[in-house]
Symmetry: C2
Subunit: 536 residues, 2 copies
Amino acid sequence: MSASPFNSEHVGEWASFGPKLKGKPTPEQRVALAERKEKRTAMKQRLFEELNDPKWTEKKIEKELDRLMEEQEKAAERPEYLDGPSGTRDFYPPEMKVQRWLFDNFRKTAASYGFEEYDAPVLEHVKLYERKAGEEIVDQMYNFTDKEGKHVTLRPEMTPTLARMVLNKTNLVTGEVRLTLPLKWFSIPQCWRFETTQRGRKREHYQWNMDIVGVNHVHAELELLAAACQFFRGLGIGPDVVGIKVNSRAVLEAVLSKHGITKGQKDKSDGGDVFAKACVIIDKLDKIGGCAVTDLLGEIGVNADSAADILKALEAPTVDQLSEHIGGETEAVGEVKRLFELAKDYGIDDYLIFDASVVRGLAYYTGIVWEAFDRRGELRAIMGGGRYDRLLELYGGAKCQIPCVGFGFGDCVIMELLKECGKLPDFQESGVDYVVCAFSPELYGAACSISSKLRACGCTVDLMPTPKKRVAASFTYADQCGARRMVFVAPDEIEKGVVRIKDLRTKDKNGEAVQVDCPLDEMHTVDDLVANAAAN
Amino acid sequence: MSASPFNSEHVGEWASFGPKLKGKPTPEQRVALAERKEKRTAMKQRLFEELNDPKWTEKKIEKELDRLMEEQEKAAERPEYLDGPSGTRDFYPPEMKVQRWLFDNFRKTAASYGFEEYDAPVLEHVKLYERKAGEEIVDQMYNFTDKEGKHVTLRPEMTPTLARMVLNKTNLVTGEVRLTLPLKWFSIPQCWRFETTQRGRKREHYQWNMDIVGVNHVHAELELLAAACQFFRGLGIGPDVVGIKVNSRAVLEAVLSKHGITKGQKDKSDGGDVFAKACVIIDKLDKIGGCAVTDLLGEIGVNADSAADILKALEAPTVDQLSEHIGGETEAVGEVKRLFELAKDYGIDDYLIFDASVVRGLAYYTGIVWEAFDRRGELRAIMGGGRYDRLLELYGGAKCQIPCVGFGFGDCVIMELLKECGKLPDFQESGVDYVVCAFSPELYGAACSISSKLRACGCTVDLMPTPKKRVAASFTYADQCGARRMVFVAPDEIEKGVVRIKDLRTKDKNGEAVQVDCPLDEMHTVDDLVANAAAN
């Protein structure tokens, strides 16, 4: 039977609406049943729209989910280890094809901007992430103590790893970097987190990272933004669908310094950087609202009046108005303006929007920051990035003042968006050129030899492992593989020194699939034979 | 300065020979110093041969290692977290290029046999690996308890994950598989282990896995072996360099059953499978010798006479002689013979050797097993595989009798071999088509616009981020990128509506690099302009 379109999460959701009731319901049960019905209907409708396949009617969806639920109940003693750890994904071949396609597009874009790929272990020392700024990512690490007592973690993000790698090629005493700067590097790491609060959220994702190391001005930000926009445009995601909000923490720094929070100031309670903490708090504005932000700012020493003024600054609709707020154009304001100017030359200005309230939730950003979002406002951020000029200094010491800028671009939200916009290609094509079918075990050796010859011509060959006398079995197998051509290794032809080849996608003038007999020692001529047969 | 060819492991090894002595040595110190000198000389010579670069003389190697060691000492307060966790690798762009090349070859081979790629999380439940057979891989897991009390591990191998994924599409009650069998799947997972005994051994590696699920006869083994041989041959590793030892545990089962160890028999002490334990013990023969194996077999109830007979059987030079030993040809012997026959048709018989002593160290193999090795006998096994017909039953219950066969092919040993044989390609080619250089900040916008146009033509463009007036700076940058062409965005040309493009690899008849002026609105004509200029 064909594969079910539903996974264990679907079944779990379906099961959560409760079981069917046996016997006459009480009034309370009647309410619960009505609710159950409503939820089931809503889910059916949702799946019907998602599947968008006339074969899967709502009725059929209901039946299949009930069947799967029942099966799940039967298999209740099923060992837990048959599921991967909570919040992880398995990539079966169909999902893997989609992932490869997405990653290939990440790679293609990065390469066309001259970026080089790097990678590093998924495991890192916990200390690499200890920044005392209350960031979500650090609070929710997938960390543990190894058998030698080391505190390690599945990496929550890639930037500290990149910093570590650069510093491993840096003389910490002199600050000399034994790599040729600037570096333009990219990677597609899997990143992990451990959080228990919200159900259904994943604990791992892949994240395309692009970074430029060693450029201390806005051309680096511009290059990264241009690459991201080229990626969007290349997949048919225009500026009407996606926008990128841009701001500068350096400008925000000017706002905060008006209220006594100065660059490099340390929190008395734990020695953490106060400005970084303020940014992490302000980043929560959308989620927790102005009052809560005011309270949290109070905890790091910002009084209510100052907080009100800061919140007001975040509403500035243009960089010029924000500039007015801080009393005149600073270097940081000039940088933002320059970025928007050059964006026009690069042809990406239609994607960019100034937004004073975007600060991003990571402690280490120091300058321009940005965030890509869907214009309908329904999804989480698609990508986030910014300048982090002081991270390498933090790890490596005062000599390591190496400017950096980078972004992280997750694999999940963009996939949701691509699905919604109908921009995912059709992954039906299997890429298999030939299925080779032996008609008896005695002919399997000949089938091996033929497969070998075809592969030597650069073809993809799926050799049917179990010889079958019935031609129908071969067709079923070829169909499953999505093969373009079938090779029949049958006794009569082999005796004559040929094999019969059927090209399932080339029709002759009668509209029938073309069929040719190809000599065993001239397998490289198949294409010509097929073309001739199609023409005659 | 150019990058040092030595990494922290080199420096660690160099430092382990001890520091230079100050003052007059005592007699004991004199011995130690002579030893130090000997070790340093040996290492210098080794590195000299490895580098194979006239620039790196032994003298220069010594100087560089001393310099790095000194630097390392200076940076002794260097935080530990700047190194990745012990036994892990960072992949800088040069190493990443090599990895991509190797993985692309794995993928190309798998695809040409009609295999589909899959993937799964690096984290799995510990229970998935509990097999009570004393396997090295299970004893040395990178396992820990997560924050919810679950016992999880960084996967030590991929096969149990594959089994889990297949069972997740199987009705455990009926045994019905909701995937179309046979499956031909491959993956290139990173696998982990935690072991403290041997210094310098890695704790992670990547492993190309190929598996066929749902075929209960030797054609499946054959297909996997053919794919591996095609991989070797494709990289220029002939059967004179690599061999694959083939044996059958089913035949060994017949040998052991003569001595009272029967299929499915449980160990009274822990309920483990006795035959599996015997195989894990016999696999250690090369490492620990016959006496130790006899002792260990004694512990699972095999007396000394039986052990002697078993060890004798393992020396059988042909499958026919092994067959004699067990008193006549069984089905299992017939399978091995059939495999060798068909290998001729497939053109891979020159790689295969029968070896009765190969059993592989994993508990779950049930039938044919194999192991690829370098003919010089200097490296560890290159690849290992075999049939595991009872693993899914073990996990999923009696209904899940799904035959499987697969191999694992690590990334480290093959890389050593490819290096030794000089079969690694030259990875100098950067793939950058254009470096675009602006001569002043005012011209950077024009440079962006030109870069954008060139990328729209499908070119890889590295835009030099910092405008430089000096032409020499542009050349240095282009050289670092390995770019093919340079675009000079300079005021005089821009005023005329053109840019100057220099093709560093195309010479005119005077042997000079071709230089053309290309109109800004006709950037797509560059190739023609260059071709013309070269001809004139």
